[in-house]
Amino acid sequence: MSGFVRAMDRLSVSCAVVAAVMLALAAVIVTWSVIYRAMGASTFWEIEFSVFMMVASLFLASPYCLATNGHISVDLLAHYLPARGARILGVVVTVIGLAVCLYLTWRGGILTFEAYERGERTESTWAPYKWLLYVSMPVGLGLTALQYVAELMRPSSGASDERRADPSLSRAPVGGGRAATGGEQISGPQA
């Protein structure tokens, strides 16, 4: 496997770890704000902060989700094609996925840049800059596009086939498998 593929896999796992920390932070902050409020204090930044964390976490975990076949899909068509046709379809689908991610990265980049230029803030008491929220989209989906390139370069035998053999990971059964389907699959794509 080429160095780029390995590096991408590692980067995706690292981003997912950061995403996990952000989500955990959101859970703790919200819990804390409920306790704090119960003691009679008023809260003003907690809700918005946890929403920012959730959005950032979602986009940052996207490349990892792709690397572990977590983005749910229905490959009904491939089942009715001969092996060669299914392989070609697989490449076409990967290229389209890459194109969609690049498109959203570009559009999201414009959105972020404009919000930054205008210094847009949210309409709350806390009023954080909006670009801080928006920037997670081009970053996360840009990395997802890179992960798509890695998927194209990944040798078709080996890692990806192994992952596909695991029912909780394969694309066919709408890969929504999660921790409870075994837990083994989440130790990172190269493990």
Binding site: L23, H71, L76, A180
Partner: protein
């Protein structure tokens, strides 16, 4: 082209794109951008990223990753096995007690977990091998867990219900309550079937040697389950006592579950936590990305006036109330065999909501009908998620046997939907009682 023709074209193109194997989230964006470009011009495309962001940056949506975290924390621990084991000890004298314990365990686990495959996996991991080892027919063993798992999205908390609430702007608290009685009744019906099926099977096979437990063992078993029952009670109390919003309840229960799992099952090393968190971010991203993409899709549908025209067309058909309900359910059943509930709710409910309202159907009641309908899709081929989970749990049982075992449960669910259609009070009594009519 008329709006209805465009609508049909969207339907065909969307199905082709989604069945190609492209992730559903990207597929929805692709179709939306394509149709906006062709039928509305490039100007409308500017809004695409902002639409996704506005949809996703919502405190209500935070419930989804947090309830996923709650389910993953408990699913990764041995709690599923403990729940099943302790229920089994109390049912040692009942014919089919082993199977009934599994179904009840699925019901209990559903109350802390909002996803069907996760429920089937957590209970199935321990339950299915045990049932087969003790001579339960493999079809009954796998079928019961396959169907029991579907309770995950009916009994609160339920990710399907949260989404439904957000899309149709109905109260999530009310939706959760509406699932309680139907969920409990389905558990009873499933258990009754397991009892009868075991009695019938016992006539043809030798009776397996009964295992008996002392009262002491029974009480001991309860001890390990008590903390999780505590979480269920805490969720219900915080949500319906008006102490906290669903998002806050989700956060508190996720933190509580992580602490409990760390204390009881000693999962606090980085590796253990990664099993929980890796799965959580993976599943949350999948669901939330589809939600963001579906926002673009419904914007496109609405801008091209397809949503409004399709709804109007359905109303103008002037179908009899029941004919409409049956056709909607037949369509959802078919769609549910191919697409996950998340995608169906996001794509179909914007059209159906005004139609249902025009016909005087209760949206809360319909959520329960829809959820049971979606559950059936989860245990029918070709993309029944629970079937594949069972395949992973019991690799030796052929898929056809799992399917055969699921059929009686599918029939029970269909019959239950009819009962629910005739007696909506089954779903509506509890929410009306607790939150006022």
């Amino acid at each position: 082209m008329s709006e209805i023709q465009i609508g049909l074209l969207i339907l065909v193109v969307t199905l082709i794109v989604l069945f190609s194997g492209l992730p559903i989230a990207w597929g929805l964006v692709l179709v939306s951008v394509g149709f906006l470009l062709v039928f509305h011009g490039p100007a409308s495309l500017q809004n695409v990223p902002l639409l996704m962001m506005d949809e996703l940056a919502s405190f209500a949506l935070l419930t989804i990753p947090l309830f996923v975290l709650l389910g993953a924390a408990i699913g990764a621990s041995a709690a599923g096995k403990d729940i099943y084991e302790s229920l089994h000890r109390w049912l040692d004298r009942v014919p089919g007690g082993l199977v009934i314990a599994n179904i009840l365990a699925c019901g209990v686990f559903s109350a802390i977990c909002g996803s069907s495959p996760a429920t089937a996996a957590a209970i199935g991991k321990a339950g299915v091998p045990e049932m087969i080892r003790r001579g339960v027919p493999p079809a009954l063993a796998t079928g019961s867990v396959c169907a029991g798992g579907t309770l995950g999205i009916l009994i609160p908390p339920s990710i399907t219900m949260i989404l439904y609430g957000i899309v149709t702007e109905t109260s999530i608290g009310r939706l959760f309550l509406a699932g309680v009685v139907p969920g409990a009744l389905l558990v009873l019906l499933f258990a009754a079937y397991a009892w009868i099926a075991t009695l019938r099977a016992l006539k043809s096979v030798d009776e397996p040697p009964p295992v008996r437990y002392t009262l002491r063992e029974k009480v001991e078993g309860l001890g390990r389950v008590a903390p999780f029952i505590g979480i269920v009670v805490a969720i219900a109390y915080a949500m319906y006592g008006g102490l906290a919003t669903p998002s806050e309840v989700a956060a508190i229960s996720a933190v509580l579950a992580l602490l409990l799992v760390a204390l009881i099952y000693r999962t606090w090393r980085a590796g253990d936590l990664w099993v929980i968190f890796g799965a959580t971010v993976r599943e949350s991203t999948m669901i939330l990305m589809i939600i963001g993409a579906a926002a673009v899709f419904s914007y496109m549908m609405s801008l091209l006036y397809v949503t409004q025209s399709s709804a109007q067309w359905l109303v103008d058909l002037n179908l009899d109330k029941w004919a409409l309900l049956i056709s909607i359910n037949a369509f959802l059943l078919l769609a549910g065999c191919f697409l996950p509930p998340v995608a169906i709710i996001l794509m179909v409910m914007p059209i159906l909501t005004p139609v249902l309202e025009a016909q005087g159907f209760d949206l809360i009641w319909f959520a329960v009908i829809l959820t049971i309908n979606m559950e059936i899709g989860l245990i029918t081929p070709p993309v029944g998620l629970n079937l594949y989970v069972l395949k992973g749990v019991a690799p030796d049982v052929p898929l056809t046997t799992v399917l055969k075992g699921s059929i009686p449960f599918v029939l029970i669910m269909l019959a239950f939907m009819v009962i629910l259609a005739i007696f909506p009070e089954i779903a509506l009594w509890l929410p009306n009682q607790m939150m006022g009519g």
